[in-house]
């Protein structure tokens, strides 16, 4: 472990271990605040709207959506990719920073991972519901059956998708959960409520905090982290093959796997930033989620934004350079100009230009500016998926099949439903799970927090 004055302390405010536990567990112990109830109520209403939309979809058919015989995928796949992208950041954040031994991750990783799990859950709904016959969805499992040679098609990116997403969901959820075990034990030990004791005790898995346990805990983190790191890269690469493997102009692109992974990390980090600013503001966690955290995220975002800009430019260049008139049409006549000009430029401006403001220290320091930009990035990333899916499908090879696509209330309702589901999930996380990894923060407290803590600790020794 290193100690340096150069980087400054990671945890502010002269905290000791007890204070950390109290600070972070405070929202769990306190009664439910009114704003939380209101926000939860609204998100449940949104969720209910989504449930109605799903009910209509399943009971009447996909025909209640705006998709058609030329545009087979619409909002549902846009939103699927969007949520998967957001769901990317948590694990990416945790794992990569864990592997790189960036200690500042400890204040943020828990929230980021929680976000991942909820977002991937939202994402997984879309490909399921968008099936024409969801009641036969189990056909996609490679299970032994009596249907003779009928078996899943290993050539299909949708099958890869299914495997990648389920694996990712499983690993992210485990990684998140195991990380929380010591904290659940802390709550169990501190609480006076019998119910909480029982519930958190159950989830704490009998954690006692022995050295042996810590040792195993650490190894498990690294093992799961190692697996997850691969999945982080693979899951969105595979999602991108849904498009890259096809023959459709604008989809048939080798740049897609890295482009999608980077894009996903981009939107995920933006969402982390949004969420962290909210947590910091609402729960007054500025001692844990310090300016330097947001600063670091902003720096990552500006870097990724440059990659995104390069990716967009590459796509456009290749569309021209390939000499394929179909590709050329898609990019130049149906994106840069044409029916979907607004969506294209919304994407470029939100993703490639607006984040460039983070070059300025004042912008990085300003919570309002950072929050606004993070929202813009998420909107931009939504438009990116819109561009990829809709512009390519509405006008592909044969002009006779060209059409337009408009979502119906059902599709919009479904999306709103997942937003509600995400918000509700995050709110539950705020209330019932320590938002910051207590044990990990404690782990870095000694090592990196300077000031009087040092003196205290020194005195103690």
């Amino acid at each position: 472990m290193y100690k340096t004055e150069v980087r400054g302390s990671l945890i502010h405010g002269n905290k000791n271990y007890h204070q950390i536990s109290s600070d972070i567990i405070a929202p769990i112990d306190q009664p439910i605040p009114l704003w939380w109830k209101a926000a939860f109520g609204i998100s449940m209403l949104a969720f209910l709207y989504g449930v109605i939309a799903i009910y209509v979809t399943i009971s009447q058919g996909i025909g209640t959506w705006g998709v058609n015989n030329s545009v087979g995928w619409g909002w549902e796949i846009i939103n699927f990719v969007w949520w998967i992208g957001i769901g990317h950041a948590g694990t990416a954040f945790s794992i990569f920073l864990l592997i790189l031994r960036q200690k500042w991750r400890t204040s943020i990783n828990r929230a980021a991972e929680a976000m991942t799990v909820v977002a991937v859950g939202c994402a997984a709904l879309f490909p399921a519901i968008h099936m024409g016959r969801i009641w036969l969805a189990f056909f996609i499992f490679p299970y032994p059956n009596t249907r003779g040679p009928l078996w899943v098609n290993y050539n299909s990116p949708l099958f890869w998708d299914f495997i990648a997403i389920s694996a990712y969901l499983l690993i992210s959820a485990s990684f998140w959960y195991f990380g929380m075990v010591p904290d659940f034990a802390t709550i169990r030990d501190r609480t006076t409520s019998k119910v909480k004791k029982a519930v958190y005790g159950f989830f704490a898995f009998g954690w006692t905090g022995s050295t042996k346990e810590w040792l195993r805990y650490e190894s498990l983190s690294y093992v799961l982290g190692g697996i997850a790191a691969v999945l982080v890269v693979s899951v969105h690469s595979i999602v991108s093959t849904d498009f890259a493997v096809s023959v459709i102009p604008g989809w048939h692109t080798t740049v897609f796997p890295p482009y999608f992974v980077v894009g996903a990390i981009f939107s995920g980090f933006a969402m982390v930033m949004t969420l962290m600013i909210i947590i910091r503001k609402v729960y007054k966690f500025q001692d844990y989620i310090t300016d330097s955290h947001l600063n670091a995220i902003a720096k990552i975002l500006v870097f990724i934004s440059l990659i995104m800009g390069t990716a967009y430019a590459t796509e456009i260049f290749i569309a021209w350079y390939s000499g394929s008139q179909y590709e050329f049409f898609t990019f130049f006549r149906n994106r840069i100009t044409g029916d979907y000009t607004f969506e294209f430029w919304a994407m470029v401006i939100c993703n490639a230009f607006i984040p460039q403001l983070f070059w300025f220290k004042r912008v990085r320091k300003s919570l309002v500016a950072a929050f606004t930009i993070s929202i813009f990035i998420n909107i931009g990333m939504w438009y990116e998926r819109f561009n990829i899916i809709i512009t390519s499908l509405t006008k592909d090879y044969l002009p006779s099949s060209w059409t337009t696509y408009e979502p119906t209330w059902v599709e919009i309702g479904f999306y709103i439903g997942t937003l509600g589901m995400f918000a509700a999930g995050v709110l539950l996380f705020f209330k019932y799970i320590p938002m910051i990894a207590i044990s990990e923060v404690k782990g870095v407290l000694k090592a990196t927090s300077h000031d009087s803590n040092d003196n205290k600790i020194n005195r103690h020794e």
Partner: protein, 985 residues
């Protein structure tokens, strides 16, 4: 547990073995046994679980498996000709009052389910048109067909009606009044003879009335040749065709037959290098105009003048006069020269209903020596017989006291006669009014007796569509409703005991087949009889020519900018009597690609003048219609399809579109399908139109490849250079698929395809394709498995048009197959791209990844769905379904199968007969129905097959071959017979 009673102490203790006694008790139910079982066994946990398990399982089975009652009653005595699961075919005749087709009806388990052309007939040649294909559905039309006799609006019986009517007819005869039989064209010799007999008993007249008639042509031919008919047009023998507003490939006179002949004239396969040169003058763009090499948009009022100019020019060339016209149309000189050079091998036709125009057209044909070569005066077309003035005369007679009764049959003047008011008023004077129509319509309600006719597939009849060409009609099913064919009614009222079947048979045996000594059954089986006719000398007399010239040779009345309205019969709707047919309603117009509406086509110039755009509403003499900006429409004109806007019909056709028959004007005793000075103004508001193809330009993509004749002669692969290039680049890392047996393929000759949409309906009928309705069509969800893409090239004033039929391409390297996660779509070892509907989970990935966009998704449960109230949601409507083809469930993807059921059927037949399949034996529905012979289907693995040779043609290419999808469908380039090609410019 039940209370246990005992009679003696042993029983109570269970020491007596009473099992024998219980077994003898036969009427114990299962529950008793269970009860006893429970009672007899100690109540252990094991037993408890056993019975619990049984009851849960039982309850689950009983509640979850809904067992609908299905009545499958076996034959007690099987009729000889019926084998369940095997279809019977009967030859019969389609004639709807305008269009004739000798057909073969496929009857499966007693239900007629499909119509094909009769290959023995020289008129049909095994082919049909869209309207004929769709007529099978009208048999099962529960909403439009009349189901029982009515008197004064309430149900009655045939006996009562027969008694009443016979008595009244006698009264009328006794009062010295006439009984009029008003029908559409009748070409049945037996029926005509019967009507004559009827009228000799009850004095009166037979009036034939057809809303869109060939009255002027009949009149002109009567004058010129003293014949009652229209010469047969041999487009196949023509080198130059000049057509003025005659949509002879779409709806004019005998479109199916003409398209067949036109296909021959457009044939460039097997090294042929002569093409017909086709000039078309028309107001709105038709499929015929689209096929023309030179097309000139003209206003209806300009047309007679151009014909006159052509007449003058030809007379000059013939040395009969030396005058030339001033300001003559730019095309006249070249066209006249071409015609003159092709003397005896040209055809001039006009769709005009002005006898003067037809006289001049006849004279041009005569000067060009076409009679006897391309225009056959011996075998006359007899399908058109109605004379317009007869109907007008009838109206005036009805208001006087001369007519006492009227019997109408297959006609709907209240809807389609321009003076409907006069007709309705005339009816009030009559003693008896009888309607023998078969469907609900606007006219029936004004009639006292409505005695529904049977559908033509339930009736006996015959027909003489051409001189000496006869065909028989036989019922393919017993009457579905309490209906009777009108001929039987006439016989009844004449007091005869025999039925019409014996009448027809007798008529044929004594008048038609007696000379050849043919047997009735063999003729009935073939459905047709064609007698040789001696070539008769026909004399030409042009006494009225000068009058005609004088009456036409005057400047166009009115302002040059007056908007002229041109009315036409559309390919789908014809004159409107099929308007309740959902297949035809949903069939997109071949040019505008609009279904479920008629609309006002205007040019972009006129749209600017009126400041309207596609979808705006305009009013034309108080009729409101949505606008379509139609490339190729003559400026200052509006074209509107007839046949829409029924206010009383079945559930499909009522209140769809606008009835424009009231715009018909009368000139020279004939009804003219145009209006020279309509008052047109833009109305506010948008109208949602269902347009199935929203983009018309090819965007410079090599999807349709075309060239011009001179270049083709130099280099047969002209315009198709890319094909060789892509063939050369054909490399793959993977092992190429080998087809050990058959390898099915289809060829499409773009030169022959006339865009008539027959294949679309044939496919719909064969493959149980649902009708989805206007809203769904608007959302690009039309279900047709084969579609005809229409592209424009060149300017919007007068573009070139191409039609491209597009079924599934059955790619041997199919993009759709790779991406299906559950292998629901896969490749057969015969090269078919097949769909396993049961396996499909509906991810729609295949739809996205199909570059041809031929895959269709079942967005809703179309069959048995109240919301799709067309034909599939009733037991009656579902009778038309083909049992060999799955009715697709909601949530699965479907598409063209190359009619795999037909392939399988013929393969099995060949196997049973222990022989090889013959080339051409298997015909998918589209190929079989195509009137122009543009589609070829066969085995690519057979080097002798037609399709194999067609794939070797230098004109052959594949759609998007640069994607290396290796389609099994080939297209032959389009070759236009013109000097320059807009396309390349």
């Amino acid at each position: 547990m039940e209370k246990k009673y005992w009679s003696n102490i042993e029983l109570l203790n269970g020491s007596v073995d009473n099992s024998a006694e219980e077994l003898s008790n036969d009427d114990r139910s299962l529950l008793d046994i269970i009860d006893e079982e429970i009672a007899s066994k100690p109540s252990s946990r094991r037993n408890f679980l056993k019975f619990c398990g049984f009851s849960f399982a039982g309850a689950a089975i009983a509640s979850s498996c809904e067992n609908p009652v299905k009545r499958a009653i076996p034959y007690l005595i099987k009729p000889e000709e019926v084998t369940p699961g095997k279809a019977n075919h009967y030859a019969t005749t389609y004639f709807d009052g305008y269009e004739y087709n000798s057909i073969i009806v496929k009857v499966r388990d007693g239900r007629p389910i499909k119509i094909e052309g009769n290959p023995l007939s020289s008129v049909s040649r095994g082919r049909t048109t869209a309207r004929v294909q769709a007529s099978i559905l009208s048999l099962y039309d529960g909403s439009a067909r009349l189901k029982k006799p009515e008197k004064d609006g309430s149900p009655t019986t045939w006996q009562i009606a027969d008694g009443d009517i016979a008595a009244r007819l006698k009264d009328i005869a006794a009062a010295g009044q006439q009984t009029v039989i008003l029908t559409s064209n009748i070409i049945s010799p037996s029926t005509l003879s019967l009507i004559n007999e009827f009228l000799s008993l009850y004095p009166g007249r037979h009036v034939m009335y057809e809303p869109v008639s060939a009255s002027a042509m009949l009149a002109a031919n009567k004058v010129n040749f003293n014949i009652n008919g229209i010469p047969d047009y041999h487009f196949d023998k023509a080198e130059v065709i000049v057509s003025f507003s005659a949509d002879f490939l779409g709806t004019w006179i005998s479109p199916g037959e003409f398209a067949f002949r036109y296909g021959i004239a457009r044939d460039l396969q097997k090294g042929r290098n002569n093409l017909v040169k086709h000039y078309q003058f028309e107001t709105g763009l038709t499929i015929t105009g689209s096929k023309a090499d030179m097309r000139y948009p003209v206003k209806p009022s300009e047309e007679p003048i151009i014909i006159l100019q052509l007449h003058r020019e030809i007379s000059r060339l013939a040395g009969q006069s030396s005058t030339t016209s001033n300001n003559q149309h730019a095309a006249i000189n070249e066209m006249a020269a071409a015609l003159w050079n092709a003397r005896g091998k040209s055809i001039i036709i006009s769709g005009s209903n002005d006898p003067d125009v037809q006289l001049i057209v006849n004279d041009i044909n005569f000067m060009l020596e076409n009679y006897g070569s391309t225009l056959d005066l011996n075998r006359l077309l007899l399908t058109q017989r109605a004379i317009d003035s007869d109907m007008d005369l009838l109206i005036s007679e009805m208001s006087s006291n001369a007519v006492g009764g009227i019997i109408i049959w297959n006609t709907n003047p209240v809807y389609d006669y321009h003076n409907a008011e006069g007709f309705i008023n005339g009816l009030k004077n009559l003693k008896v009014t009888v309607s023998l129509n078969d469907t609900v319509n606007e006219t029936n309600e004004h009639f006292r007796y409505i005695l529904p006719a049977s559908h033509y597939l339930e009736s006996w009849d015959d027909a003489e569509p051409k001189t000496g060409v006869f065909s028989l009609a036989q019922p393919a099913i017993r009457n579905l409703f309490d209906t009777r064919q009108p001929q039987d009614s006439l016989l009844k009222w004449m007091g005869k005991d025999s039925d019409y079947y014996s009448y027809v048979k007798n008529y044929w045996l004594t008048n038609i087949i007696q000379e050849d000594g043919l047997d009735w059954n063999s003729v009935l089986q073939k459905g047709i009889y064609e007698s040789d006719i001696a070539a008769a000398q026909v004399n030409y007399s042009n006494t009225l020519l000068n009058d005609a010239v004088t009456s036409l040779d005057k400047p166009v009345a009115g302002n040059k900018n007056d908007i002229e309205v041109n009315l036409y019969t559309s390919v789908a709707m014809g004159n409107g009597n099929h308007a309740n047919n959902p297949w035809l309603m949903e069939l997109p117009d071949p040019i505008a690609k609009v279904s479920w509406d008629n609309f006002a086509s205007i040019s972009s110039q006129t749209a600017n003048d009126l400041s309207v755009t596609t979808g705006s509403l305009i009013s034309i003499n108080d009729l409101r219609l949505p606008v379509i900006i139609q490339p190729g429409q003559a400026d200052s004109t509006i074209s509107i399809a007839l046949g829409y806007g029924h206010i009383k019909f079945g559930k499909v056709g009522t209140n769809v579109g606008t009835n424009v028959y009231p715009l018909v004007s009368v000139m020279n005793d004939n009804r003219q399908l145009y209006l020279l000075n309509a008052s047109v103004k833009a109305e506010g508001g948008e109208y949602p139109l269902a347009i199935s193809q929203k983009h018309g330009s090819l965007e410079g993509r090599p999807i349709v490849r075309e060239t011009i004749l001179s270049k083709y002669r130099e280099k047969p692969d002209s315009g198709n250079e890319l094909h060789a290039e892509f063939e050369e680049k054909h490399v793959t890392l993977y092992k190429e698929t080998v087809f050990p047996g058959h390898h099915w393929g289809m060829g499409v000759d773009l030169n022959k395809c006339v865009g008539c949409n027959t294949c679309v309906i044939a496919c719909q009928a064969e493959n149980n394709i649902p009708v989805v309705g206007k809203d769904e069509v608007r959302r690009t969800r039309i279900m047709h498995w084969i579609r005809i893409d229409r592209y424009y090239s060149g300017g919007t004033d007068n573009p070139e048009v191409v039609f491209q039929p597009l079924p599934c391409q059955h790619c041997d390297n199919a993009p759709c197959e790779n991406v299906c996660p559950v292998s629901a779509t896969n490749h057969s070892n015969e090269g078919l791209n097949q769909m396993a509907y049961n396996r499909c989970i509906g991810t729609k990935y295949c739809i996205n990844n199909c570059p041809y966009k031929v895959r269709r998704f079942n967005w809703f449960r179309y069959a048995t769905n109240e919301k799709f109230d067309y034909n599939m949601n009733s037991d009656l409507g579902r009778m038309v379904l083909n049992p060999d083809v799955t009715v697709r469930e909601r949530g699965v993807v479907e598409k063209c199968t190359f009619c795999v059921q037909r392939i399988q059927e013929k393969k099995l037949e060949a196997k049973i007969e222990n022989r090889h399949l013959e080339d051409g034996e298997i015909q998918p529905a589209c190929v079989q129905s195509c009137p122009a012979n543009a589609l070829v289907f066969g085995d690519l693995a057979n080097t002798e097959s037609k399709i194999f040779k067609l794939f070797k043609e230098p004109r052959n290419y594949h759609l998007l071959e640069e994607l290396h999808t290796l389609p099994s469908v080939g297209y032959l380039t389009l070759v236009r017979n013109k000097e320059d090609n807009n396309h390349e410019a």
